[in-house]
Structure formats: structure tokens, C-alpha cells
């Protein structure tokens, strides 16, 4: 009996949370973008305020989901993110980016261009000036470099999209290329959600029998310098991608 009440409540609270996320995605730009534009300051400052705003909004959102009993979470070694440049994380669920931005005040990220056409997400993307992956590799690299110069932490999921459950992680080379060609160290983040939910294979309303728990651990930096010694950056990126794949697969296995 208690189980059914718990399940029903979490189902309702999950639906409510998604509703709030969508509502926020639509209302926030309408209200906040004009205010941010009207406040004095340079474009960079406005973007920074937008970024902060999304950070606090996502923090509030996660806090809301936690207090509604949809999820619990723990963040380990948060301080290691203080001077992070390129943040690379595995990508099991839909909420990963929300968690990461909620713990990184200066977070920027690279988003797929489909999200710009999505009415629920284009506002926040515009607001914070996130980088849009328009398949113009040169352009994305240049924007990443600019972001690092502005002291943004750039969040990238090297898998490109959410992990297919129960499969080895395979990485695209984009993340490694950014690290090598902009010469920044990597801050790896491990994300684990138990029971696994909100994956590629789940619909949002297929909630787990037990309340989901997010474990987020910030690992020690991976230094880029050894990879810069490769003959060509394209070779360095291949080696780094292989090493990162192995790293993430190993770390995920250790947790399971």
C-alpha cells in the first residue's frame, strides 16, 4: 500500500517537475531576457548574468525535485571544479546537464542545434550564450576558445548523446579535439543514477520503482600536455579519445 502511494506521489511530482521545467523554459526568456538587456553592462557581462541566472534556476529546480521526493543526490569533491575549464562527463540521463550547470556557476555548454529550435530550451540557450554545434568544426573550436578566455567552464558530453544503457561508452572525438586544439586540461565528472532512469530508452513518465539517486563525483584533472606532443593534433585527439573512453568505462565499472 505504502509503495503504491510512494509511486503515485513520485509520478505526480515528476510530471509536475517536467511541467515546471517547460513552463520555466518558456517564461524565463520572456521575463528575464528584456530585464538583462535593459540593465547596463557589456555583452559579456550580460551573458555572464544570464549564465548565473540559469545556474541558480537549475539549482532551484534540482532543490525542488529533491524536496518533492523525486530524487536524492550527492556531489563529491565539488571544490575540484573551481578552476575547471573543460568539464567532460558521462551522460546516462536527461538531468545530467541540469545537475552540472547547477553545481558550476560559470558553466557554458555546447548544445545540439535541435535544442535551439525547441521552444522549451531556446530561451535559456540564448540567455546564457551557450555554444551551438552547427557542424562547423572551426567555428565551434573558436567559440570554445573564446569561452575559456572569458573564464567559462565548458561542459561537454564526449559521447555526443545519452549513453545507451548496458553498453560500453564510445566517445566521439570532438571533446578531445577541443582539449587539444585549445590546450586546456580536462576535469572529468562521473555521473551515476540508480535505479537507472530518464535514459534514451525511457520516456519521462516511466519512473523507477525506487526513488532515484544521483551520485556525482568530480575527479582529478587529466593533463593535456602529454597529448600536445603528438605529431599532429588529429593523432593526439585519437589517442586522447581512446584514453578517455577507457577512463570512463573503467570508472563506471568500478562504481557498478
Amino acid at each position: 500500500m505504502w509503495n503504491r502511494i510512494d509511486y503515485g506521489w513520485r509520478w505526480f511530482a515528476t510530471a509536475f517537475s517536467f511541467f515546471m521545467f517547460g513552463l520555466g523554459g518558456i517564461l524565463v526568456p520572456i521575463v528575464v531576457i528584456p530585464i538583462l538587456y535593459l540593465l547596463p553592462g557589456s555583452t559579456v557581462q550580460k551573458q555572464q548574468r544570464g549564465q548565473r541566472f540559469i545556474h541558480y534556476a537549475f539549482r532551484t529546480f534540482i532543490g525542488m525535485m529533491a524536496s518533492l521526493g523525486v530524487l536524492t543526490y550527492e556531489v563529491k569533491h565539488r571544490t575540484k571544479l573551481q578552476d575547471a575549464k573543460l568539464v567532460l562527463a558521462n551522460h546516462p540521463t536527461l538531468l545530467d546537464i541540469v545537475f552540472l550547470i547547477s553545481i558550476i556557476p560559470n558553466a557554458s555548454c555546447i548544445v545540439k542545434s535541435a535544442l535551439v529550435r525547441n521552444p522549451f530550451t531556446w530561451g535559456p540557450i540564448k540567455l546564457a550564450g551557450y555554444i551551438i554545434n552547427d557542424d562547423d568544426a572551426d567555428n565551434v573550436l573558436a567559440l570554445a576558445k573564446t569561452a575559456f578566455n572569458k573564464n567559462h567552464a565548458l561542459v561537454v558530453f564526449p559521447e555526443g548523446s545519452r549513453t545507451t544503457p548496458h553498453q560500453q561508452t564510445t566517445l566521439k572525438r570532438g571533446a578531445a579535439n577541443i582539449a587539444i586544439r585549445t590546450q586546456v586540461d580536462i576535469s572529468p565528472v562521473l555521473i551515476q543514477c540508480t535505479p537507472l532512469t530518464l535514459t534514451k530508452m525511457h520516456r519521462w513518465y516511466q519512473i523507477p520503482k525506487k526513488r532515484m539517486h544521483f551520485y556525482i563525483e568530480i575527479k582529478d584533472k587529466i593533463m593535456i600536455s602529454p597529448y600536445l606532443e603528438s605529431k599532429t593534433p588529429s593523432k593526439g585527439a585519437r589517442q586522447l579519445t581512446r584514453d578517455l573512453s577507457q577512463y570512463f568505462n573503467q570508472e563506471i565499472e568500478l562504481r557498478e
Binding site: 557542424d135 573550436l141 572525438r173 579535439n177 588529429s234
Partner: protein
């Protein structure tokens, strides 16, 4: 003027040197993106190397049409012919 076979061999060597693709995996029909696992950043590197090889600038629009190794050979030959003209 260089013949197609020479250009092909040069490209195969370039692919090995740039992208660690072993020559026996490459044929004229190989699709760069599907068979040889070349991504958009690699394509940028490749265009730069081809420019060094031919001394001619490849138009990005032209390179967008390129799908297979044979297409690359054709592009390079086109550029080299332009030099002559």
C-alpha cells in the same frame, strides 16, 4: 600533370600520416565519414593538408560535396589542372 594513381597514393599516405588509417583499409570507394571514421574537424585538417600539397585553396563548398576517396582524388586533380590552365 600528375596522374590519378600518383594522387591516390599521395592521399593514402596522407591519411595514414594524419589519421592513422592503414593503407590496406582504403579503397577509391571508401566513404570518408562512414568507412574511414573521419569527422568534421579531421576534414578541416585534410583541407589544409591538401592545400599544402597542391598549392591551391580548396573552396569549402567544393569539399562539402566530397564523400569518397575518389572524390578527393578528383578534387585534387581539378585543382592541379587549374594551375596549368
Amino acid at each position: 600533370m600528375k596522374n590519378q594513381q600518383e594522387i591516390y597514393l599521395k592521399i593514402v599516405a596522407l591519411f595514414e600520416q594524419l589519421f592513422e588509417i592503414s593503407p590496406e583499409d582504403i579503397t577509391l570507394e571508401s566513404n570518408l565519414y562512414q568507412d574511414l571514421d573521419i569527422d568534421s574537424i579531421d576534414a578541416v585538417d585534410l583541407v589544409i593538408e591538401l592545400r599544402k600539397m597542391t598549392g591551391k585553396k580548396i573552396q569549402p563548398e567544393d569539399f562539402k560535396q566530397v564523400r569518397t576517396v575518389a572524390d578527393v582524388v578528383e578534387q585534387v586533380q581539378k585543382l592541379l589542372n587549374e594551375t596549368k590552365a
